[in-house]
């Protein structure tokens, strides 16, 4: 039987339209907008000024603070301004604007595609290079990778888990990466194992990608201590906690981190970025972005420089269809609808999904009929139908007691609700208020 997490989960239509399509490079955009906050923590601090000439891969902002990461120029050219720009949420964020001129790379970076296997680096050096390269979790949460690799004192990592699940419908960027860059991923896994000082790495892939499973299984036979697991297709298996439970059978305690059960999880995309950073000395300046949708002309997997406007991607995929209802950054389950298409690609952008107006229209909200479907699909064993009214009524202490902070915001409850209730909207709202209360209590 295929492994999976035991409770909850949904199975939305997969719609992997761009699966098996090769990764294509799109032409360099005339200008890029590189946001300074592309990671979880505080924005990075710009170290370039207006008018500076930069080359691709050059450090332009340094990460300040615990959950912050370095930011690099993704193209070569001139810094035209450092100003505020609307990010995916529409709020203004600091960004560096670069006008592209040629494609010159910063010295020391190997921008070719030749596979390199140099394992003669010690763990600290690997972590140092990852920190410098500004690598963050490319699955979407953008948690800085070097923070995960520096296991806190008193805790010990036993396994490395690599997330090749890609449980979001429509998205195929990780799938394409596994098919095309399997060997590089293996090298990346070995490097991460070394950095973490663990013997065994598990790669979890959902069973709807049999070619990727076969390919990585063949490759892993040549590498020591890498196991590839086929997992049952179920959303949200790509959630860190669900994946750990599926593969290792361990359960991350409430409020805890994966490292509490001896596991550190990295996304496939992150592993590839680690390979590039350590072996090619190449910082995180490009990533694979799926651009998809039922009405779009050419659903594709693009290799995109960070900072490219979304509109350039849509153009390269055949333009915006006339019946577009929503442009979503990310997948249909956890993605975010965009207010304008000039938003730049950030490190956490895994895909752009274009939904038609009929697909994206909402159903009328009806009263809760207490069918408890949301309870049965919640992978964190919460009771969404109770949490929503609590959040509506601002009963924050009860919400906290009901473990609202365990919610991973996967949206399974809102997806399954037959009354189309916006469960997650309110739960997320309650969660943020409870989070504020908890933080103020700690102070």
């Amino acid at each position: 039987m295929l492994k999976t997490f035991p409770k909850g989960g949904v199975h939305p239509p997969e719609n992997k339209l761009s699966a098996h399509l090769p990764i294509r490079q799109i032409p360099l955009p005339p200008s890029v907008t590189i946001l300074l906050s592309q990671h979880m923590g505080a924005p990075a601090k710009a170290i370039v000024e207006k008018g500076d000439q930069v080359r691709a891969g050059q450090l332009i902002a340094t990460g300040e603070g615990f959950l912050s990461g370095n930011v690099h120029a993704s193209v070569s050219g001139k810094v035209t301004r450092i100003d505020e720009v609307q990010d995916a949420s529409g709020y203004k964020r600091q960004a560096v604007f670069i006008e592209t001129a040629g494609d010159e790379w910063f010295e020391g970076i190997k921008s070719d595609d030749i596979l390199e296997k140099d394992f003669d680096i010690d763990g600290q050096e690997i972590i140092k290079r990852i920190t410098e390269a500004g690598i963050v979790g490319l699955g979407g949460a953008t948690f800085p990778s070097h923070v995960k690799l520096n296991v806190p004192r008193g805790k010990k990592a036993k396994f490395l888990v690599v997330n090749g699940v890609e449980c979001e419908p429509y998205l195929t960027s990780d799938h394409a990466l596994m098919l095309e860059k399997g060997e590089e991923i293996m090298v990346g896994v070995q490097l991460l194992k070394k950095a973490l000082n663990v013997k065994l790495a598990h790669i979890g892939i959902e069973n709807n990608k049999p070619d990727a499973i076969r390919h990585l299984k063949e490759l892993s036979a040549k590498h020591e201590g890498i196991q590839v697991h086929a997992l049952k297709v179920k959303y949200p298996q790509g959630g860190e906690k669900q994946l750990i439970r599926a593969i290792t059978g361990r359960e991350v305690p409430s409020g805890g981190l994966p490292v509490d059960v001896g596991v550190v999880v990295f996304n496939i995309g992150t592993v590839y970025a680690v390979y590039e950073a350590v072996q090619k000395n190449k910082p995180l300046i490009e990533r694979i972005v799926t651009i998809t949708g039922k009405d779009i002309k050419q659903p594709s997997n693009f290799r995109v420089r960070i900072g490219t406007p979304i509109s350039a991607l849509i153009e390269a995929a055949g333009g915006l269809p006339e019946n577009t209802g929503k442009v979503i950054m990310g997948g249909p389950m956890m993605g975010k609808a965009l207010g304008n298409s000039e938003v730049p690609v950030v490190k956490g952008t895994s895909g752009i999904l274009i939904l038609s107006d009929t697909e994206s229209s909402r159903s009328i909200i009806q009263p809760c009929i207490r069918c408890a479907k949301c309870v049965s699909v919640c992978p964190m064993c919460l009771e969404p139908y109770l949490l929503m009214p609590l959040a509506q009524q601002n009963k924050f202490d009860t919400l906290e007691a009901a473990h609202v902070m365990d919610c991973i915001e996967c949206g399974s409850c809102s997806y399954i609700c037959p009354a189309s209730r916006p469960l997650l909207d309110y739960i997320r709202q309650g969660k943020s208020s409870v989070g504020k209360i908890i933080r103020s209590r700690k102070k």
Partner: protein
């Protein structure tokens, strides 16, 4: 037969007496003394339990009032000066009169002035919408128009204007409890001094962006030019973050700033159409 009745009566009486004794002793032992003035003070309060005073309901506020030594920082905005005077009489203290306040929305981004750039079809709640994204218009500071303030108002003093998409305060019903101030995720409500005849002059904008950007998204945005600041004879206007702010305690309603504002972001309400001297109003402060 009669003996049985007698025994029954006696036994029950005895039981009753014992129980009464026990209950009396327990009541004495666990007696909680409560200041009788708390009840008196509570009776004077409006019983709205709105939390406008900052305490958990009128009872809690009454307890705090009785316990405290002075009225510093304690004020019932709903009851106002009259209520506070009566409470002062109960407690034998001196009441401190406060100026009446009224809630004012510092945004005038109606559909006409602030064009929509996208459509939000999610949950109709300002708190949720503002956590997800910046809103349907280019302005990231303005009113979202989903009426969290209307829901929060317990005095029916706020309602949405269908035409403009903005909430409207009914000055006569508003008690300045501050519920809308807390409910608005954009922090657009301000409690300003209440003038006679509900006269108002305020900068109806909270956009802190640079003038050009703010103006692009909303034609009545404050662009931070500082013209009003220069013309104000009472130093009532403060310029901060590309935004003018009229201090309602210093403002004398002279209306010089209104004429100066190039974008019309300073609003005057409640004035007669013809310009008149407002010396009378400046002298008297209404409640």
């Amino acid at each position: 037969m009669s003996m049985t009745i007698l025994y029954t009566v006696l036994t029950l009486s005895l039981l009753g007496a014992v129980a009464a004794l026990v209950l009396y002793q327990v009541a004495q032992r666990f007696k909680v003394f409560e200041d009788p003035r708390i009840d008196l003070v509570e009776a004077e309060l409006p019983a709205a339990n709105c939390g406008g005073c900052g305490y958990a309901g009128c009872r809690n506020f009454a307890e705090t009032l009785v316990k405290s030594d002075s009225f510093d920082g304690l004020f019932c905005p709903v009851g106002g000066n009259d209520t506070m005077a009566r409470i002062a009489a109960v407690l034998g203290r001196e009441a401190v009169a406060k100026e009446a306040r009224v809630a004012v929305l510092r945004c005038n981004g109606t559909c006409e002035f602030r064009p929509r750039t996208n459509v939000y079809d999610g949950t109709k709640s300002c708190a949720i919408a503002s956590a997800i994204y910046s809103g349907e218009t280019g302005c990231t500071y303005g009113c979202l128009g989903f009426g969290d303030c209307v829901t929060a108002c317990t005095f029916d003093a706020l309602h949405m204007d269908e035409k403009t998409g903005l909430p409207v305060v009914e000055d006569d019903k508003c008690t300045a409890c501050g519920a809308c101030v807390k409910a608005c995720p954009r922090n657009l409500f301000e409690l300003r001094k209440k003038w006679k005849g509900n006269k108002k002059i305020y900068v109806a904008c909270s956009n802190e962006e640079k003038g050009g950007v703010a103006r692009k998204n909303c034609t009545v945005a404050c662009i931070g030019c500082g013209k009003c600041f220069k013309v104000c004879p009472y130093d009532a206007i403060v310029m901060k973050n590309n935004l003018a702010f009229i201090d309602s305690d210093k403002c004398k309603l002279c209306r010089k700033c209104v004429a100066e504002c190039p974008t019309g972001s300073i609003i005057e309400i409640g004035f007669p159409p013809k310009k008149e001297k407002t010396a009378e109003e400046t002298a008297s402060v209404s409640n």
